[in-house]
């Protein structure tokens, strides 16, 4: 009887709507960062969408070391990079620890334009993405699996080379108008 109960609990645990299991990034952050900046230059609606500055938020889990390390690398790369603007639109970086902050409140409070999602675990990623997209926030991630989940733009790996991953419905959903030249280079996920 006890065994049967144990099995039932296990099945329920597995069926729990948490789809953000811990995933690893495919490409180092210091490569991801300039690539994302270049991708953003292909967005014809960037200016109209973000105004004169871009607030880029890194969402991570402080208790998950993999997530925390990526967040730290992202910060370090940003700080060390000489590129701090795109087409005269300045970029500022903030971090959101979803284990400590409420995401919705944080987005509202900090006027976030773009979200970079670090590797997460035990998080309902889809709800998190929907929350961003509902507010026309472009989502980026270094974890390729997250693009299929709904993240708009990601960086994967094809062979030994980085590959741009574009979730076209997600991109259209957040009113981003990427140039077809970019789309030609990227792997389109519909």
């Amino acid at each position: 009887m006890a065994i049967w109960k144990f099995c039932l609990v296990s099945i329920l645990f597995l069926l729990w709507p948490v789809d953000a299991f811990a995933q690893n990034i495919a490409v180092p952050v210091k490569i991801q960062y300039p690539l994302f900046l270049k991708i953003l230059t292909f967005d014809r609606n960037l200016k109209s969408r973000v105004g004169n500055d871009i607030v880029l938020a890194v969402i991570y889990q402080s208790k998950f070391p993999g997530s925390r390390i990526v967040k730290e690398e992202f910060e370090k790369t940003f700080n060390e990079s000489p590129i701090k603007e795109i087409d005269n639109i300045s970029i500022s970086l903030i971090t959101i620890d979803i284990e400590k902050e409420n995401l919705r409140q944080a987005i509202s409070a900090k006027k976030i334009d773009i979200v970079y999602i670090a590797p997460l675990r035990a998080v309902n990623l889809k709800r998190l993405i929907d929350e961003c997209h509902t507010r026309n926030i472009l989502t980026l991630s270094g974890v390729p699996a997250y693009i299929k989940t709904g993240v708009a733009v990601g960086i994967g790996l094809k062979g030994n080379k980085p590959q741009i991953l574009v979730n076209l419905p997600a991109v259209n959903a957040v009113n981003v108008n990427f140039s077809s030249q970019l789309l030609k280079l990227a792997k389109i996920i519909k």
Partner: protein, 756 residues
């Protein structure tokens, strides 16, 4: 045909100036036309190729750029591409359609409202108004056509550039033509002027004036031509003079050549060898010299009807047919030829190819070698004889050069030298075979012979290795060459050891014999001398008996006593003769100069009465003075004259002739050859003579051919004569026929030191 045409319509004289100007003008005109048409057309073609490549390039780039915009329905991207393409100023239009020909974007200034304009264009075509160059490029995505680009490049600028180029080309062509015409005209004038002047000069030279020279008025090819022409004229002038000299020389050479030909024909006919020339193909004789007619007996005309085969005997013809065309001019061939009368001749022929009267022929020089071959055969025979002599003679023969090297030896000499083959001695000397002392001695003798040129005969004893003596008799003769110069020596050596031994034995035997003979002669002398005493007593007592008791003896006693007295007297004669015979050698008196004429005259005096009794006629000619014993000589002639008087024919008066036969006498019946070194004194008579077979017998002791009753004598007269003559180193012979007299020939040695 051409000649006739030109004869009827002679070609007019056209000046070089006219031809040159006309040709150059036409050429320049063609060049001008070419410049006018070629360069603009070429430029347009090049520009069209550039425009085509440019349009194709723009279209391809645009299609490539616009492909993702069509895929992602990126109208803004399409516009961007069109805008980018418009950067090219020559772009006339650009239409972008998708795969369903739905227009996605366009650039068509001036063609608003004509949206389907592009559909009428063809790829890589020029529009009807010649304003645009049209290109259609497909838009591809992943190998699939997803749209097309219609693109036009404006040709307006090209057309204006071509038009401008054509105007410039026309102008340049016109300028070239004008300047070319002027230049051609001027050049032709410059070129032809000196030529005209040269023509004038040539005309003067043609008339025979070689002193004319072409003026040199330009320093170019024509000037050089004029210079060369002048040099040629100078050369021609010199050559003309030289030619004249050469003609004279040729005339002289021709004269010499004719003389040479004359000499050649003289030589051809006078050469000692026969020469015949026959056709190489037909083999018919073409010519021959006069020697042919002498050798073969044919006339020249007869010979020319023959071929070489007619000269050969039947057995040789096949050989001649085989070899007649393969003769070696350097090697004579030997054949047998037949003369006209069938006489066979050995000939030697040397032939060579010549060209005679324009056709190939053989020239054969024929030499009659019949006599030469006979001489060669004789020589070979003599050589064979010499060789046989050399090989078979037991005497050793050798030939040496001046240095003493053996040139040739015979087998006997080889054997003597210890060689198997006589050739092994060639080049060697005596020093290679004998002891140095012997060789040196021989060499000394040889040098003496070669220097003196006199023959040396010597006998030599050599001590052999076994200690025995070996005697050789050598004759060394200087060897002269054909000019008489002494080039060596040859000699004959004979082993005379056996002969020497025999001589030695003979000498001993002779000495013994002489001793015994002397003893015998002494015995005879003593015996005959001692016999005289009892005989004298017999005769003395006989005489006393006759004187005192003849009356008492009676008739028979008288007869016996007379017979005894006669026998004693004959015995006395015999003893006297025997004594005389013995005394010849026993009483060895020295020889003195003896005048034989005087001796004979004294003897004749002694026989004076006897001569008169028989009525003999004695002819005494001059006899020599010799070295002899005068008494014995007296005895000799006394005996011979006595015999001549005694044995005369009955009723025929004796004729006795005594003469010196050495000087030769045509009247002499003696036909014997005269021996050198001897006086031949002959005593000739016309007596009864004797059989020649008794010629030796009559000289034997006590030998008589007649009975004592017929002719008195002891038979010792001629024996004594022979003994005397032999004692003087001579001999005596007799020749006679019965009834024809006899001739006694006394040979006495001629001793120069004693002759007078």
């Amino acid at each position: 045909m051409k000649f006739q045409f030109e004869y009827i319509f002679p070609r007019p004289f056209t000046r070089i100036k006219t031809k040159f100007t006309l040709v150059v003008t036409v050429l320049i005109f063609i060049i001008s036309i070419f410049v006018y048409f070629f360069f603009p057309t070429w430029e347009k073609k090049q520009a069209m190729m550039a425009i085509s490549e440019k349009a194709q390039s723009i279209a391809q780039m645009a299609a490539y750029s616009i492909s993702p915009a069509i895929v992602f329905a990126d109208s803004e991207g399409i516009s961007q591409v069109i805008t980018s393409a418009r950067q090219n100023k020559d772009l006339a239009y650009l239409f972008v359609v998708n795969e369903n020909d739905h227009l996605l974007g366009q650039f068509a200034p001036g063609k608003t409202g004509k949206k389907s304009f592009y559909k009428m264009q063809k790829n890589h075509s020029i529009s009807k108004d010649n304003a645009t160059y049209n290109v259609i490029a497909p838009v591809l995505s992943q190998g699939k056509v997803i749209g097309r680009l219609y693109l036009g490049i404006s040709l307006r600028e090209l057309n204006s550039r071509v038009s401008r180029s054509r105007k410039i080309s026309g102008l340049v062509g016109l300028v070239i033509f004008l300047f070319g015409f002027i230049a051609a005209f001027s050049t032709s004038k410059v070129i032809t002027r000196p030529l005209d002047m040269m023509v004038e000069t040539v005309k003067q030279i043609t008339l025979g004036d070689l002193s004319q020279r072409a003026p040199i008025i330009s320093h170019d090819e024509v000037g050089r031509l004029a210079e060369s022409f002048n040099l040629m004229i100078e050369s021609l002038e010199q050559r003309t003079a030289e030619l004249k000299l050469v003609n004279e020389q040729l005339y002289k050479e021709n004269l010499i050549r004719k003389q040479s030909e004359h000499k050649y024909f003289s030589l051809f006919n006078q050469i000692p060898d026969a020469i015949a020339i026959f056709d190489k193909k037909t083999k018919q004789f073409l010519d021959c010299n006069s020697k042919i007619t002498k050798i073969y007996g044919y006339s020249k005309a007869e010979f020319k009807k023959l071929t070489p085969f007619d000269l050969h005997p039947a057995e040789e013809k096949s050989k001649v047919k085989r070899l007649i065309d393969t003769r070696n001019p350097e090697k004579p061939n030997r054949y047998t030829h037949l003369s006209k009368d069938g006489r066979r001749m050995d000939v030697e022929i040397v032939s060579d190819e010549i060209e005679f009267q324009g056709r190939p022929a053989w020239l054969s020089i024929i030499r009659d070698i019949t006599e030469r071959l006979q001489a060669e055969k004789k020589l070979a025979k003599e050589q064979h004889l010499l060789q046989s002599f050399m090989e078979n003679i037991p005497d050793a023969i050798y030939f040496k050069d001046m240095e003493g090297h053996f040139l040739r030896i015979n087998r006997a000499q080889a054997k003597r030298l210890g060689l198997d083959d006589p050739k092994d001695a060639t080049g060697k000397t005596d020093f290679d075979f004998f002891t140095e002392e012997n060789a040196r001695q021989v060499r000394k003798q040889e040098l003496r012979v070669m220097r003196s040129g006199k023959i040396s005969v010597h006998e030599q004893v050599k001590i052999l290795a076994d200690g025995n003596e070996s005697w050789v008799s050598g004759t060394k003769v200087p060897l002269p060459d054909e000019n008489g110069k002494i080039i060596g020596i040859f000699g004959i050596t004979r082993d005379i050891t056996e002969r020497k031994r025999t001589e030695e034995s003979l000498k001993i035997f002779t000495e013994k014999l002489m001793a015994r003979n002397k003893e015998l002669q002494e015995f005879a002398f003593i015996a005959s001398h001692d016999l005289q005493e009892p005989l004298r007593k017999v005769r003395a007592f006989g005489d006393r008996l006759w004187a005192k008791y003849s009356d008492e003896l009676g008739e028979q006693g008288h007869d016996y006593l007379l017979r005894m007295q006669n026998a004693a007297a004959r015995m006395q004669t015999l003893i006297d003769d025997l004594l005389a015979y013995s005394c010849i050698t026993i009483k060895d008196r020295p020889l003195v100069k003896t005048d034989l004429s005087r001796i004979v005259r004294e003897v004749l005096k002694d026989f004076q009465i006897q001569i008169e009794n028989v009525g003999a006629a004695v002819q005494l000619e001059k006899l020599p003075v010799i070295s002899a014993d005068p008494l014995q000589m007296r005895q000799l002639f006394q005996n011979l004259i006595s015999n001549a008087l005694k044995y005369h024919r009955q009723g025929v008066a004796p004729i006795i002739r005594i003469y010196n036969g050495t000087t030769g006498d045509k009247n002499s019946s003696d036909q014997e050859p005269l021996a050198n070194g001897f006086h031949h004194i002959r005593v000739e008579d016309n007596g009864i003579g004797f059989e020649q077979k008794h010629a030796d017998r009559i000289f034997a002791v006590f030998q008589r051919l007649h009975t004592r009753d017929s002719y008195q004598g002891t038979g010792m007269g001629l024996t004594i004569c022979r003994k005397i003559v032999e004692h003087h180193g001579g001999s005596i012979t007799a020749k006679s026929r019965p009834g024809e007299g006899a001739t006694f020939t006394i040979k006495l040695p001629r001793k120069p030191e004693n002759d007078i």
